[in-house]
């Protein structure tokens, strides 16, 4: 690795570092020398060496072990490996000696720039982990390396510019000396200030030895022997168990009719009335669950009373037909004019039902309020530790700084776990029995029926063409609940269409709704890409050729289309009863084309996906195999959501309750093959965790149209709906 020049600019003072830089907070003692041990690690872990905190991000032990903090949640997407890999690359750490831990949930120190580019956030959402931390982790790693070089330069009295590194070793070629990182611990000296390492002094990507290589995931061995720890697995001394009975009507107020009898039951420690549920605290989990079933609750009304989800669509129709405008999302050129001048106009509507996250680990959290009431701890699997910290603090009347979050692995997140509801509830219950810790478990039924769903919507698309096969205008209107949840993925600037218009009209129902893997992209891309196919057919064009023309000004998008078409042998004949469908999406900066091959059982209406091909441009790929795994998994999750997942609501009540009536994809639903190609790129890494899922609806719908000539316009494509469409 190249030398670091000794004149870095600008240099920031230590104090400023803590306040201002995203990549770095340097925790040093008053003298400027690190205290011997700044860590709460047990003596066992420190053994046999002395452990020193190099920077806020990394501890170094005299035996050479490097412990790197991961600031993101690990919910299956691989952050426990990808971010430490990026850090190690610049620190020039020996990966075999790296250990990874979750960072403290302190967003000022460990956050990455949020959407405004200024405020720091710690939120593992929107496929932003690698994107938002790439440069930050590189700089933090380079700064850790700088501390090591500085120490050696002082110790050997040689200029820092003469020092280089090999993995885990500082080298002074001029005097033919080398020192292992671990051995530096005994003379570690931290500089008064640590320079920002400008990007041009970071490694040349050509010299990456970890980034982009096939690195096994750090967390996987512990996920094969049962040792990986989830919040659900936490057991603490004196711990109590709690459950909450929530109304099936979201937001309904409870009145407990048999409180005295419940309190008198064996094992019951407490009963807590919340605004929307009754909590039971008991000495064992089985008691808490048994008592929950004995609660006699009278439920009040709520905004959702009388709401029937399948009837909402006609209301959405009215809203879209009405004159009251909603929020404009896109308005380029002049769609109205384009429409007046059109040779041909197309219009179509698409619908989608609610879907549920169904992460395999139901929500849960453990909270302990200290006996003096002045501090609390929470153990939770969260997509945003700081959110949970705030929720617990609020429930307990504490400052966030008085709450310590112990982040655990997440048994799936998919957007559900950036809401801190379980931790907040556990705190309200724990408050009543302090200092005993309380483990609150949502049953699967609670998790499903009091879930937060991807909202329903109705989409109306209109497009016009000029008679020569060019799309001249494209308009997209959406009606549904939950403003921002409906709008992601509505932009199509990669298509060369001069006049574009998009608008959202919000119709609130009071049903709890939330981001769900890829958010609005699922429904929006379903509508857009189905519609593009319809226009292609109407103009007599092949769906791939037609998109090729539309993408002529977006070479990176086009490259994914070409690659996927090549992989799927687009255009070659298929056996009788099979058809292919194509879709292109952009999600979190990643460009992906997906193609599927399906067949159909005409008796049951069941669609079978046999093969799926995808090609993505996601910029620099940190962990190629993990990216492929994310896309594969996203496609499988997509298949479940598109073919069978459906939450329906009748008179405000959720009709499904567990996996017997909420059908996620099983092994038999998985395609025989999923092939994923990653396009070589030196551009900034983009988000991939969500890019597979929204491909599926449109690819299947387009394949179905190729097979049958009919259009599927309502998600999910259950057997019943398919038979109805076939007539």
């Amino acid at each position: 690795m190249k030398n670091i020049s000794s004149q870095h600019t600008p240099t920031l003072s230590r104090r400023k570092f803590i306040k201002t830089t995203g990549g770095f907070a340097f925790l040093i003692g008053a003298t400027g020398i690190l205290p011997q041990i700044i860590s709460c690690k047990s003596a066992k872990e420190i053994d046999p060496g002395i452990l020193k905190q190099l920077t806020a991000w990394v501890h170094l032990s005299s035996n050479g072990q490097v412990t790197i903090y991961n600031p993101a949640a690990e919910m299956g997407q691989g952050s426990m490996t990808s971010l430490p890999v990026i850090f190690s690359e610049e620190m020039d750490a020996d990966w075999d000696k790296v250990k990874v831990e979750f960072s403290p949930q302190e967003k000022e120190v460990y956050g990455s720039p949020g959407w405004d580019g200024k405020t720091k956030i710690m939120m593992t959402v929107g496929s932003r982990t690698t994107r938002s931390y790439f440069t930050l982790m590189r700089q933090a790693g380079a700064q850790a390396r700088y501390v090591l070089l500085h120490s050696v330069s002082q110790h050997w009295q040689v200029p820092i510019s003469e020092l280089t590194t090999e993995p885990g070793v500082v080298v002074h070629a001029a005097s033919d000396r080398k020192v292992n990182y671990g051995d530096i611990v005994s003379f570690l000296q931290t500089p008064e200030s640590i320079p920002e390492i400008p990007e041009e002094q970071l490694k040349n990507p050509q010299n990456f030895r970890l980034i982009g290589k096939e690195m096994p995931r750090w967390d996987i061995p512990s996920k094969t022997d049962g040792s990986a720890q989830f919040a659900m697995d936490i057991r603490l001394p004196d711990m109590l168990y709690a459950t909450i009975e929530r109304g099936n009507l979201h937001g309904a107020k409870p009145t407990l009719k048999n409180e005295a009898a419940i309190r008198a039951m064996e094992g019951v420690i407490g009963v807590v009335t919340l605004d929307y549920g009754i909590g039971v605290i008991a000495n064992t989990l089985e008691r808490a669950l048994a008592v929950k079933k004995q609660l006699d609750i009278e439920w009040g009304g709520a905004q959702t009373s009388g709401f029937n989800s399948q009837e909402a669509f006609s209301n959405y129709e009215k809203v879209l037909n009405g004159t009251e405008k909603g929020r404009e999302l896109t308005n380029t050129g002049d769609f109205k004019k384009a429409r007046q001048a059109a040779a041909k106009t197309y219009t179509a509507s698409f619908r989608n039902d609610y879907v549920y996250h169904a992460q395999m680990e139901p929500l849960n959290a453990i909270v302990q309020l200290a006996a003096d009431g002045k501090s609390a701890e929470v153990w939770v699997g969260s997509q945003s530790g700081p959110n949970d910290k705030e929720a617990v603090a609020e429930a307990l009347g504490l400052e966030p700084s008085q709450v310590k979050v112990h982040l655990q692995y997440l048994g799936g997140g998919f957007g559900r776990r950036s809401a801190p509801d379980a931790a907040g509830e556990a705190a309200m219950l724990a408050k009543t029995v302090a200092p005993r810790p309380v483990k609150l478990i949502w049953t699967r039924e609670d998790d499903l029926q009091y879930g937060m769903y991807r909202p329903m919507s109705l989409q109306r698309l209109t497009a016009c063409t000029d008679g020569a096969g060019n799309v001249t205008g494209f308009s997209h209107l959406v009606a549904g609940d939950g403003a921002n949840l409906l709008t992601s993925g509505i932009g199509i600037d990669y298509y060369d269409i001069p006049n574009q218009y998009a608008e959202v009209r919000v119709v609130p129902h009071g049903v709890r709704i939330k981001h769900w893997r890829a958010v609005g992209h699922g429904p929006n891309k379903f509508a857009i890409e189905s519609f593009i196919d319809e226009i292609a057919t109407g103009e007599g064009g092949d769906p791939v050729e037609f998109r090729r023309k539309l993408m002529k000004n977006s070479p990176r998008a086009l490259a994914t289309l070409d690659k996927a078409a090549e992989m799927a042998k687009w255009g070659t004949p298929l056996p009788e009863g099979r058809a292919r469908g194509v879709a292109f999406i952009e999600r979190s900066g990643t460009l992906t084309t997906g193609i599927c091959e399906i067949s159909l059982d005409p008796n049951t209406g069941k669609i079978k996906v046999h093969h799926f091909w995808s090609a993505s441009d996601a910029g620099i790929i940190v962990q190629p195999d993990n990216v492929r795994a994310q896309i594969e998994g996203g496609i499988v999750m997509g298949i479940g959501s598109v073919l069978s997942e459906q939450i329906t609501i009748v008179d405000g009540k959720v009709q499904q309750s567990n996996f017997h009536d909420y059908h996620i994809a099983r092994m038999e639903d998985t395609p025989e093959t999923i092939e994923t190609a990653l396009i070589d790129s030196q551009e900034t890494p983009q988000g991939v965790g969500e890019s597979g899922t929204p491909l599926v609806a449109c690819a299947i719908a387009n394949a179905f149209a190729a097979l049958t000539g009919k259009r599927l316009r309502h998600l999910p494509f259950t057997g019943e709906r398919v038979l109805e469409v076939l007539g």
């Binding site: 750090w218 967390d219 996987i220 049962g226 168990y241 089985e286 998919f414 999750m637 092994m667």
Partner: protein, 161 residues
Amino acid sequence: MPDLTLQINGQNKKVNVAEGTSLLWVLREHLGLTGAKYSCGVGQCGSCTVHVNGNPVKSCTVAAEGVADGQAITTIEGLSKDGTHPLQEAWINAQVPQCGYCQSGQIMQAAALLDKNPSPSRDEIIQHMNGNLCRCGTYLRILKAIQMVAGNKSLTTVNGK
């Protein structure tokens, strides 16, 4: 209720729990064997799969007293001494787990299959594994890992850590 004696991973464990308490709660909350997971509680997902006398059992659906007194219970913690069961190695090799929550159950379900049928066909694997849900969608890699072991291909562990 009198103490129950459960034989788990070759050791006798005494527990005192209310009648009807599921084996899953006993394992997880009373004995601290948290590898088997709770996800649905009604036999619909397989996250809680363990072996009883060599058969895969959804531990959320059986009462602890029903498997007491000498029936051999094996959990993921007891599948191998040090995580080196061929399936565990294949799981690492194929980089199967994502969030990991379902994977103890998947591995236990697969191990029971290979004990009875060392070289199952693809269809037999799918049929046997179909009740084990994975929301992260790792099914193709699960299949691959099982086939690696079933095909008796020599396994080079890419165990990074």
